[in-house]
Every structure is written in structure tokens, then in C-alpha cells.
Symmetry: C2
Subunit: 344 residues, 2 copies
């Protein structure tokens, strides 16, 4: 390789490595779960159906609210019988771009994630998969819909197919055309001066090292291969105690490997302005404080008030367009209910 060729290659590499990428309108679709209109509609119906919870009061949407920023703006979510988990609900919007799901990356796909909360005792609290399937089988409309969507499956109603349908719906929950995206595509007025300054500060401070890629959640990895970072990377700041950053060991809970202590899947920054409070435990109410905490704990930097405000302005430019959605009709159980008459 000559020097001239080397320089050319380098410049190409630099051009390709632009940190700014618009959000694709379509996320990756796994080969074993192709999209179809009917499957998406079934998935949406399941997603909004509170009968997937033991007491019939909580649906996927209760905690991952698609009418809002895709979660519940709470530090943690409210499960059946007022139960609480220790971590905040991640947004469902653009979750299809994440290569692993949950804060600790314990699910390698939307399919693997979708059915977890249904039988989690602090979430939807169904006794077990059999109870879920029994209930769905009691709802004639679901029997029909599953057969139509999964004609090759016997039985058509299975946890695998519940997962596939919900995941298919979630892959439609994409928010393209944020001011940032329009800016990247050439519409230079889409971001204001402060936002452009914030974009540079975001880059120069080093935030982009982890919040990279079109989804601001790290490099595009094969599905199932997560991108994790230690939080706090620079332990010892006032924030560790103030926001209880160390007590939840994160990915360690999954792997039990010491090297995974306090490791977390890097979250997207898409629509981050809509998803307060912040971090896995929701201890930080405001985005400016979240930015300060990140700079200090991850990059060991103290941002000025102006730098912080500029980054926050930029992050507000990551709020995308939310597609209009119609409400599903939940299939009835005429003349009866599948819910218990007493649950207390």
C-alpha cells in the first residue's frame, strides 16, 4: 500500500465514520418473523390488552405508553397489586433498533423481551405461560386472529407467536424526521444555532463514544450482541450516593460475572426529552442534571452551564415524528369475563 493510497483510504474511512446518521424509516426485521399487516394489528391488540395481566388492569401500554414517549415518566413502573420493580421502563419507541433489550440486555430480541413482563410477578403477574395461553384461548377473537396470522402453527396461540406479534407491532414504532434527522439530510434550518452548538459539544465532550449510531445507542451490532458500558465509569463523584448509582449491579444480575458489575446497555437518546426521569433507577428528574451526571461519571468532565444547556437543546432536536395510530378493538368474550371476580 503506497502512502497516497493510504491517505485516500483514510479519508474515505473518515467520511464513512461520520457520527451523524439519520434514523432509518425501517428497523432490522429478523428473518424468522417477517412483518405483515395482520400480524402487526394482532400485536397492537395484544399490546393494549390489559387481560394479559393477572387482574386485567395492566397492559404493555400501561408502562410503555405509545401515546407518550413510549414509557410512563415514572422512576419505576406500577405492576399488579401496586408492585414495583427497581428499574424504569425503557421506551418502546425505536426499541427495534436496539440489539438487546432490557436495561441489562437480558433479552436478545424484541421477541424475547415481549413476553417477559407478562409473567413477571412485579409487572403483569400472570401465573405462568399456561395461564396466559388459557386466557387467550377463551377469547374467540384471538383464536381467530392467531389462526389467520400463524396458519402454519399448531397450536396457533403460543407464547412464541404472542411474542412475534407484539414484536412486529413494536417494529412499527419508529420516530423518523426529528429536527436532527432533517438537519443531517441537509435541511440546515431544522436545528437552531444553540442546537448545532450542542451537537458539537456532544461530539467534542465525547458523549458520542457510547451514544453513537443512528439510534444514539451504540454501534449497529448483530441482534443479540449488546453494547454495554459501566455506569459510573468514573466512580467516586458526589453523584454515586446522591442518585444511588452503585446499588443495582446491572448486567451482573444476568451473567454473575464480576466484570459486568454496574454494566448497562447503552440507551437510545432518541426522544430523550420526553422520557424523564432518567437512568435505570429514574432518580434524576431533569435532563440537564442527567447530562451533567453523564459527563462527570462517564467522561470525568465538568460541563459549564452553557455547555449543558447546549447539549440539552441538541437532545431536544432528537424528538421525532410519531406516526398517527388507530386504537385496536379488543376482542370480547361475549356474556362473560375471563378476569377473576376477586383478586384481593
Amino acid at each position: 500500500m503506497t502512502c497516497a493510497t493510504g491517505a485516500l483510504l483514510l479519508s474515505v474511512a473518515v467520511a464513512q465514520a461520520s457520527p451523524w446518521q439519520a434514523l432509518p424509516e425501517q428497523p432490522p426485521i429478523p428473518e424468522n418473523n417477517p412483518q405483515s399487516e395482520a400480524k402487526i394489528e394482532l400485536g397492537k391488540t395484544l399490546y393494549f390488552d390489559p387481560r394479559l395481566s393477572k387482574n386485567g388492569a395492566i397492559s404493555c401500554n400501561s408502562c410503555h405508553n405509545v401515546m407518550a414517549g413510549g414509557e410512563d415518566n415514572r422512576p419505576n413502573s406500577v405492576g399488579v397489586h401496586d408492585a414495583r420493580g427497581g428499574r424504569g421502563a425503557p421506551s418502546v419507541w425505536n426499541a427495534a433498533f436496539l440489539s438487546v433489550q432490557f436495561w441489562d440486555g437480558r433479552a436478545e430480541s424484541l421477541e424475547a423481551q415481549a413476553v417477559g413482563p407478562i409473567t413477571n410477578p412485579v409487572e403483569m403477574a400472570m401465573d405462568d405461560d399456561a395461564a396466559v395461553l388459557a386466557r387467550l384461548n377463551q377469547i374467540p377473537g384471538y383464536v381467530e386472529l392467531f389462526k389467520a396470522v400463524f396458519p402454519e402453527s399448531d397450536p396457533a396461540i403460543s407464547m412464541e407467536n404472542v411474542a412475534k406479534a407484539i414484536a412486529s407491532y413494536e417494529r412499527t414504532l419508529i420516530t423518523p424526521n426529528s429536527p436532527f434527522d432533517r438537519y443531517v439530510k441537509g435541511e440546515k434550518e431544522a436545528l437552531n444555532e444553540q442546537q448545532v452548538r450542542g451537537m458539537e459539544t456532544f461530539l467534542n465532550t465525547g458523549c458520542v463514544a457510547c451514544h453513537s449510531g443512528a439510534n444514539f445507542s451504540g454501534p449497529d451490532l448483530p441482534m443479540g450482541q449488546g453494547f454495554f458500558m459501566k455506569f459510573p465509569t468514573f466512580a467516586g463523584s458526589e453523584y454515586d450516593a446522591k442518585y444511588d448509582l452503585l446499588s443495582d449491579p446491572g448486567r451482573y444480575e444476568v451473567t454473575k460475572a464480576d466484570s459486568d458489575k454496574n454494566m448497562w446497555r447503552v440507551p437510545t437518546l432518541r426522544n430523550v426529552a420526553l422520557t424523564a426521569p432518567y437512568f435505570h433507577n429514574g432518580k434524576v428528574a431533569n435532563l440537564d442534571e442527567a447530562v451533567r451526571v453523564m459527563a462527570k461519571t462517564q467522561l470525568n468532565k465538568d460541563l459549564s452551564a452553557e455547555e449543558t444547556a447546549d447539549i440539552v437543546a441538541f437532545l431536544n432536536g432528537l424528538t421525532g415524528e410519531f406516526p398517527v395510530q388507530t386504537m385496536p378493538r379488543l376482542p370480547p368474550t361475549p356474556n362473560t369475563t375471563v378476569l377473576p371476580l376477586a383478586d384481593k
Copy 2:
């Protein structure tokens, strides 16, 4: 008046008094709250916004689910911190045709009803009206929407206007064109033979004495003037104890008049097949049993199995067409949350 004229008058009166009326496409609209597209959209947004509850986990729709039969198919509803009231959630669908609201008729309009649950400690549990208004004022999108919808109000955000907007939305929740309605309008195939037989049994048994009018909830009375009946009217059957029919004194709780003990607003039978379990306390899981209980306790009649099945078939013909709805976008509080960071 001659005999001939008398006979003529009688025949006219009989024709006018047909017990079967199709559901109007529009409910009564009060003069002081005219409908507008913007008001309806604001009302829908509020209706689906869980931030109207103390912990941000419960919206109007949580218990009065418009994606289903307008309620939650539970015997009672789940409030903040897993609280329970003693009565089941009535359906929001066609509630606009009721002249009074709540099981005990304590609200004389949808407006009066709409704001009750927001500060009810076993429902949405906001501390007081001031807390509701303070929270709405923290949400920039609502400040804008209320000003646009209520330009004559100062302040635009008030409980009165919250109520007006939600009530306006609820007045769009009408389910016309049930098989029964189509039958009444002349489409004689809309009900099958059993349903037509059930319609006659419903009439001849006397059910229609109370479940009359287009909404099957009693005569059209001026708004605020409710139609109440004692349940059980014929006390002493096995059902009193079996389904605990006497312990809740119903309207007596509102008026403290002995004559109102166990008096209840006559509920609509529209979409009744979708709203199990039945009665104010949700103690009866199935519609056939509900029909048997009603015949016995209200009319002192023991229905045969065939009569019961026929009436149930007829009641299934009262399930209407549910208009397609788009989901509202809940206005955000960028960079922060209005919900408490700890609520337990």
C-alpha cells in the same frame, strides 16, 4: 270525545309507544357545552392521560376502556395504590344518553361525573382540584390547548373546562347500528329467529318496563333527572345472599332518604354482552345468570332455560358499531416529569 275519536287516539298512542327505538347517532348536547372538534380532541387527550392520577399510572381509560366495552370487565376497578371501590365501572359507551351518571345517579351530567374520579382517593387519587390544575399548568401543550378551546375562560385551565372537554369527547362515544337497530329500521334479517323470540320474551316478561327507551335505560328524562329502581324489588330470593345484593344501599348513600335504600340508576343494556361481570358489585360473571337474577328479583319470575337463552341472544343483538378512533398524543413536559419520583 266520541268513541270513534277515542279509538283513533288510542291507536296513535299505541303506535307512538312502540318500545323499540333505534339509537340516535347523536346524544343530547347541553347548551352550555357545545361540541367542537378541538374540544373533543382535548377531551380525548385528557381521557387517556394517566398524569391525571396521583402516581401517573391510571387514566380515565384504565377503568372505562374505550378499546373494549367501555369498562374493564372487572367486578370493581383498580385505583392508585391498588385501592378498590365497591362498585363496578359503568361503560363510557353511550353514557351520553343517561340522564344521570354513576350507579347511584349522584352526578347530573357527564360534566359533573368526569372530574369525580380524578380526586377520588380510591380511583385517581389526586390530592385536590388545585393539584390537578397545577399539574396541567406544568404541561405546556395543555396550556396551549385549553386556551385555544376555551378562549373566553380566564384561566382557561379549570376543573369546569376539564369536565367540559372530557364530556364532549364522551358524547362522541356512541355505538349505533347494532343488529337490533338495523332490525328496528327495517332490516329484518339483522336479528336471527332466536333473537326476535328473545325480543318478544324481553317485552312480555316485563324487562322493558325499566330497560326502555333507545338506550334501554329508561325513559328520556331531562338531564339530571334520573330513573331509579329498587334492586332487588322482590327481596327474599336466594340471590340476595348469593350475590350480596342488599349490603350496598345504593342511592341512599347520596340522599340518606330511607325510600332510596337499594335504589339504583337503571343501567343501559347497550353492549351489555361486552360488559361482564354484572350489576353494581360485579358479583355475577355471566349474562344468562344476570338475566335470571333480574327476572326473579325485579319481576318475581322464574325464566325457563329457553327463555333465558332467547333473551341473552336478543341482548347480544344490542352490541353496536364502535367508531374507529385515533390515539391522542399526550403533550409532553420536555426534559422533566410532572410525576413524583417516589410515591411509596
